[in-house]
């Protein structure tokens, strides 16, 4: 008997075909039901927190999350946006543009009901085009001067450009008598972007640099460099460094200079808790209080907007580790304001869809005739519902976006407060005087 493979009968083929068709129909139906269910279950609006959460810049993520949690808490306390609560979801850029791009794509693909993004930092040039193309409003505290002429419609900068920071440093140094100073900045992008305008403004106002060094960050020793600076006898050192470099450099300076430090004037980087903790321990509280000052964007600590932020962030002491350290923090304060601004814009637009509410954002903070000044989300929502025009002045103060979506701000001198453990503003500089004519 010859063995052969039996051909399937016509009936069997029909049966298989029917079963396949039914299976496909079931799959499509179940899939649609799941999608509908998912949409129904998306009962919260997601804010993407796009920062480094691991690696050497992990502090950025902690700070961004603190600001986000403060913002959503304040908004959710008033019933959320259009009856929907907000939630923060972190996405780790690892502090590297090469990792930031896939993190951004993952965020866009996976975050349900993504309405806005806060962050990142120096990786922003890599991620802004992506969020802009996705029409998701993106608020960031990036100081890179390349954003001074930003043309991405969905990108908003909440802190001043590093070029303006540089002008502020140079203005302070020359105007307040420190005309024989040293310039010591690390070579990373975040520090170097302040240097050209610092030097230009400082020299323009009569200052002369006694020493001018660029340090490679994170080295095990800077003693040779410290000797060079000591030998130049500066009356101040103008600088921006990461906490580890600053702690090493300044402690070695103390050791080699008979336990003395000149005045150290640095940028808003030194207002951050990781810098304060690291450098204060390395050089001692007394030396830190006496010698380390910062020139940074002004945060008015007495306004209702700031007080609301302060109360909210301190109330998060379980969710945010060491919440007190974020009270005067320039970046977490700005991120908080970004969320409130976006929430008010969504309320005004009656939509949480980025492409719809984006055009309302600049109007929330712009000064206009007949507008009601509001300082909290609660005040803003009440005024909008009453049909009024509003101008939001929040925790960071005035954040009126210019045509490049950057918010120019005043600068102030900060000194260490040993009671609170934070840097407090002691003097505000007149905005117009900072910039060259």
């Amino acid at each position: 008997m010859r063995l052969h493979r039996a051909r399937p009968s016509a009936k069997a083929s029909l049966a298989v075909g029917l079963v396949t068709l039914i299976a496909l129909l079931v799959a499509v139906t179940v899939g649609r039901a799941a999608a509908a269910s998912s949409r129904a279950k998306a009962s919260s609006i997601t804010i993407g927190v796009l920062y480094a959460f691991t690696g050497p810049n992990a502090q950025n993520g902690t700070t961004g999350m603190a600001g986000c949690l403060a913002g959503v808490t304040a908004v959710n306390a008033e019933g959320g946006v259009l009856g929907t609560t907000l939630k923060c979801k972190p996405f780790d850029t690892k502090g590297d543009p090469a990792d930031a791009v896939p993190a951004t794509n993952q965020m866009l693909a996976s975050a349900s009901n993504l309405a806005m993004v806060i962050g990142p930092s120096d990786e922003a040039p890599a991620t802004i085009p992506i969020t802009n193309a996705a029409k998701i409003p993106n608020f960031a505290t990036v100081g890179d001067p390349r954003q001074d002429t930003n043309t991405d419609a969905y990108f908003y900068r909440l802190t001043p450009s590093d070029s303006v920071q540089g002008y502020a440093l140079g203005y302070f140094g020359a105007k307040y008598g420190y005309k024989h100073s040293a310039s010591v900045f690390t070579s990373d992008l975040g520090a170097q972007t302040s240097v050209p305008t610092f030097k230009a403004r400082y020299k323009q106002l009569g200052g002369k640099l006694a020493a001018d060094l660029t340090l490679a960050p994170g080295k095990s020793s800077y003693r040779t460099e410290v000797e060079k600076v000591i030998n130049s006898h500066p009356n101040a050192i103008f600088t921006e460094m990461d906490p580890q470099t600053a702690a090493t450099f300044l402690s070695e300076y103390q050791q080699l200079n008979n336990n003395k430090l000149p005045l150290i004037v640095t940028t808003q980087r030194a207002n951050q808790p990781d810098f304060i903790t690291a450098v204060r321990k390395a050089i001692g509280v007394a030396a830190f209080k006496k010698s380390v000052w910062t020139v940074a964007p002004y945060v008015e600590a007495t306004g209702l907007g700031f007080q609301t932020y302060k109360k909210t962030i301190l109330g998060l002491n379980g969710k945010v580790k060491d919440a007190q350290s974020y009270v005067g923090h320039p970046y977490s304060t700005a991120d908080y304001d970004g969320i409130v601004i976006a929430a008010l814009a969504m309320t005004k637009a009656n939509s949480s869809k980025g492409s719809v509410y984006n055009k309302f954002i600049t109007g929330i903070t712009s000064a206009k005739k007949g507008a009601t000044i509001v300082r909290t989300y609660a005040q803003g929502v009440a005024a909008i519902k009453a049909g009024k025009k509003i101008t939001y002045i929040g925790a960071s103060g005035v954040l009126a976006f210019n045509r490049y979506h950057s918010a120019p701000r005043e600068f102030a001198l900060y000194k260490y407060n040993s009671t609170t453990g934070n840097m407090d503003s002691v003097k505000v500089f007149p905005g117009a005087a900072l910039l060259p004519k």
């Binding site: 050497p56 502090q59 095990s220 702690a247 090493t248 580790k321």
Partner: protein
């Protein structure tokens, strides 16, 4: 004060830290042929153990140094036994082992960061006056760091030259199969080598942080490149070569900083490149291409 003499003094401190770490790194490669990229992160872990002893338990920094060294040794042995050895038993290729060590490095760093967060830490501060010695300007603690490095290198030399363990290590490093045939228990020698090199790693992590004033979860990893450079300079696998590499790279980078701080790394790696052009296998003459060490089942 003469800037060159000062820079040499500062360079000796850097060289001391580098010597401890580069010798530990090269010892691991010499005995087991593993290019261990997790070395820097084990330094960080050891530094945190020392932090616990010094700051949380309020013990002296010298006791913390011992604790850190032991922690580095134990952690290194565990990593080798639990992760590297199983891969080697399967005959994993050298390049793949490098990738495995990179994965271990990432895991260790992220576990540390998950535990301690993104904050910066430091040992109990000690405010010392610098001492002028032979034109150099160093604190007592920096002299102690140099002393620790010299003592460790001397101890290592005596161990390798004059003890059975040292001879067994050198034999295993030279030819593991032959050493096994001669009755040397290579697995035990390998464990001893990892304990020794891991202890050096731990000591290096603690003295690095003593010198830095502050550290975080990524500090050790950022130092790895210059450690590898010092090891490669003196031929990977040769402890004496690594010692020479550490001194040359440490001092040359401080001397270059006199001209410009930006030249520190340029000088260090330029010296390395020049040596490799003249001697492609590093400074030491007798270098052989190695295969991964065969690992027998226990």
């Amino acid at each position: 004060m003469n800037q060159i003499t000062l820079a040499i003094g500062f360079g000796l401190v850097t060289s001391s830290i580098l010597a401890l770490s580069a010798v530990g790194f090269t010892l691991q490669f010499g005995v087991t042929n593993i290019f261990n990229l997790a070395f820097g992160d084990v330094m960080t872990a050891s530094a945190f153990v020392a932090y616990l002893v010094n700051v949380k338990l309020h013990e002296s920094i010298w006791l913390a140094l011992v604790a850190g060294g032991l922690a580095g040794g134990v952690l290194s042995v565990l990593i080798n036994r639990l992760i590297y050895t199983p891969f080697l038993r399967r005959g994993t290729a050298l390049f793949t082992m490098v990738m495995v060590s990179l994965a271990v490095a990432t895991i260790v760093q992220n576990v540390i960061q998950a535990g301690v967060g993104s904050n910066f830490y430091g040992y109990e501060p000690v405010h010392e006056t610098s001492l002028h010695v032979a034109g150099m300007l160093l604190t007592p603690r920096q002299f102690a760091i140099i002393g620790i490095a010299v003592a460790s290198m001397t101890g290592l030399h005596l161990l390798l030259k004059h003890t059975r363990l040292g001879k067994a290590m050198r034999a295993t490093s030279a030819d593991a199969s032959l050493a096994r045939s001669c009755g040397i228990e290579c697995d035990r020698i390998t464990t001893a080598a990892w304990m020794l090199s891991g202890t050096l790693c731990g000591l290096a992590g603690v003295v690095l942080v003593m010198n830095l004033a502050t550290f975080d979860a990524t500090t050790g990893n950022s130092f790895l490149l210059v450690i590898v450079a010092a090891a490669v300079f003196g031929t990977v696998g040769k402890p004496y070569g690594a010692m020479v590499g550490a001194v040359v790279i440490g001092i040359s980078s401080e001397l270059a900083a006199i001209v410009s701080p930006s030249l520190k790394d340029v000088a260090a790696f330029s010296v390395l490149v020049i040596v490799l052009i003249v001697r492609p296998n590093g400074l030491t003459l007798n270098f052989r291409i190695r295969r991964p060490v065969e690992v027998t089942a226990a």
